[in-house]
């Protein structure tokens, strides 16, 4: 079953009694690339986490493929709508250990490791297959983000939620991450990506649609 369209219907999230955003309506369709923008503290991460079903909404509904998150099994939903952290958390071991890790989960049972997804991506980045044998504690920040993406691909998501994936990376590493995501989108027209970024040039490069959370921040009530 497909994760798309992925939609927000009157979605709202409240932290410590204050609404971060409210009445958010949006629909993410197949083949689209979205930017989630807004000032610091406007709840961009919170929105991506809600879409992945990591946190619950305080108000409104999220639908994936026409069904609400309550009707779906969250593990299966999260595998299809995958959230990537700004600073990836890698499992102990090697790059290969990390890339194989998703296949050990019950939700992916009966599905084999897609070696081609990994090697063709490494090839596109000009990296040798020996990269897979590297222990994770010797990786640079950019390499860690690449491993997180290779690992995510094995979960076979339809949607990637990218939370400032290049915020702490140099230009070359940023380019590699952008290239990997672009390549993944091009492979299949049924996929979509959402980015948050503080870099307007990057937003212009990698996205076509914008969701500005400043539009949904409740104004102070008139006295």
């Amino acid at each position: 079953m497909d994760a798309l369209p992925l939609s927000l219907d009157h979605a709202g999230r409240r932290i410590d009694g204050r609404w971060l955003w409210r009445d958010v309506d949006a629909q993410i369709d197949e083949g689209t690339r979205w930017a989630v923008v807004g000032p610091s503290g406007s709840g961009k991460t919170v929105l991506l986490r809600a879409l992945a079903g990591l946190d619950r909404l305080d108000e409104g509904t999220i639908r994936s493929g026409g069904r609400t998150l309550d009707e779906l099994s969250l593990p299966a939903h999260r595998a299809r709508v995958h959230y990537l952290m700004q600073r990836p958390a890698l499992f102990p071991g090697t790059v290969a250990d990390n890339v194989h890790a998703p296949l050990k989960l019950a939700v992916h049972r009966g599905r084999g490791y897609d070696a081609n997804a990994t090697t063709s991506a490494l090839d596109a980045l000009g990296r040798p297959v020996a990269f897979l044998d590297q222990p994770i504690d010797r990786l640079s920040g950019g390499e860690q983000q690449i491993v997180a993406l290779l690992r995510a691909f094995q979960a076979r998501p339809d949607v990637l939620l990218l939370d400032e994936p290049t915020a702490s990376l140099d230009p070359a590493a940023t380019e590699a991450v952008e290239a990997l995501v672009a390549r993944w989108l091009d492979e299949n027209a049924g996929r979509a990506a959402l980015w948050t970024s503080h870099n307007p040039a990057q937003i212009a490069r990698v996205t076509d649609y914008t969701l500005d959370l400043a539009d949904f921040a409740p104004r102070p009530e008139p006295a």
Binding site: L54, D55, R56, R78, A79, A89, V107
Partner: protein, 264 residues
């Protein structure tokens, strides 16, 4: 039972003189440890004297409800003390510890007294209370260590846990590494002490029985029984408390709630 040498308060005072020598040593070296040792020793003396009075009274009443009440009270105190030793809290943590320590200790004490030793009457405090006390002391340590470790791992490995969830893990798959760590940590003291028992250490209970005139081979069999029962009790109590904490932090819908943990 064989006769044994009774011990008087004057003899205890003589032993305390040696403690004074040790205190003089730490004072001379300005280690600043003297106050702590004096307070702890004083507490130990007062607590044990009080326990001696209570036990004397309980042993004299020979009423099952009084003995059962004392066993419940001991378990309750152990549950509270186990939580007090941890640095984080979540709603319901005291209930979780109480349920775990009560369930595990009553089950194992009951099995030992009714099934293994077949004491007549079952509530004979001479057996029930010391057995129960030893189980509780160890269950307390197991619960506090495993609970503390589980909560610590949930905070420290939050990103790894959420990454597993984001890749499609169920709550159990996401929580398994911290659960495993916590249970291993809770069982370390008892496993270690069994491994060296009789070689490096002579267990206190066995020593006590021998001092009181029991046949050493009998004392050894009692010690083996109590070690096995302690291990079972610690394992039950640690598993119970970690699984209860797991259900408090990982909900049925596979969401993870580390924000429920508050530092004290």
């Amino acid at each position: 039972m064989s006769p044994y040498e009774s011990i008087s308060f004057a003899q205890l005072a003589l032993a305390a003189v040696l403690l004074a020598v040790a205190l003089g040593l730490t004072v001379a070296l300005r280690l600043g440890l003297a106050r702590g040792i004096v307070v702890a020793a004083a507490r130990m003396v007062v607590q044990l004297l009080l326990v001696g009075l209570v036990l004397g009274w309980v042993f004299a009443t020979e009423h099952p409800l009084v003995i059962l009440g004392l066993a419940l009270l001991m378990a309750g105190l152990a549950g509270v003390a186990a939580v007090r030793r941890t640095v984080r809290r979540f709603p319901g943590i005291y209930w979780n510890a109480l349920v775990s320590v009560l369930g595990a200790s009553f089950l194992v004490t009951g099995f030992t007294v009714l099934g293994v030793l077949q004491i007549e009457p079952w509530y004979d405090p001479q057996y029930l209370i010391p057995l129960h006390g030893m189980l509780l002391g160890n269950a307390l340590t197991g619960i506090s260590l495993s609970l503390d470790r589980f909560m610590e791992s949930c905070v420290r490995e939050r990103d790894l846990i959420e990454t597993r969830l984001a890749l499609g893990a169920t709550r159990w798959e996401a929580a398994r590494p911290p659960v495993r760590d916590a249970l291993r940590t809770g069982l370390i003291p008892i496993v270690n002490s069994m491994a060296v028992m009789g070689i490096v250490s002579l267990p206190g209970m066995m020593t006590g029985q021998i001092l009181a005139g029991a046949d050493p081979s009998d004392a050894v069999r009692y010690q083996i029984l109590i070690m096995l029962m302690i291990t079972v009790c610690v394992a039950f109590a640690s598993h119970a408390v970690v699984l209860l904490a797991y259900t408090a932090l990982f909900r049925r819908d596979h969401t993870f709630h580390p924000e429920r943990l508050k530092t004290v």
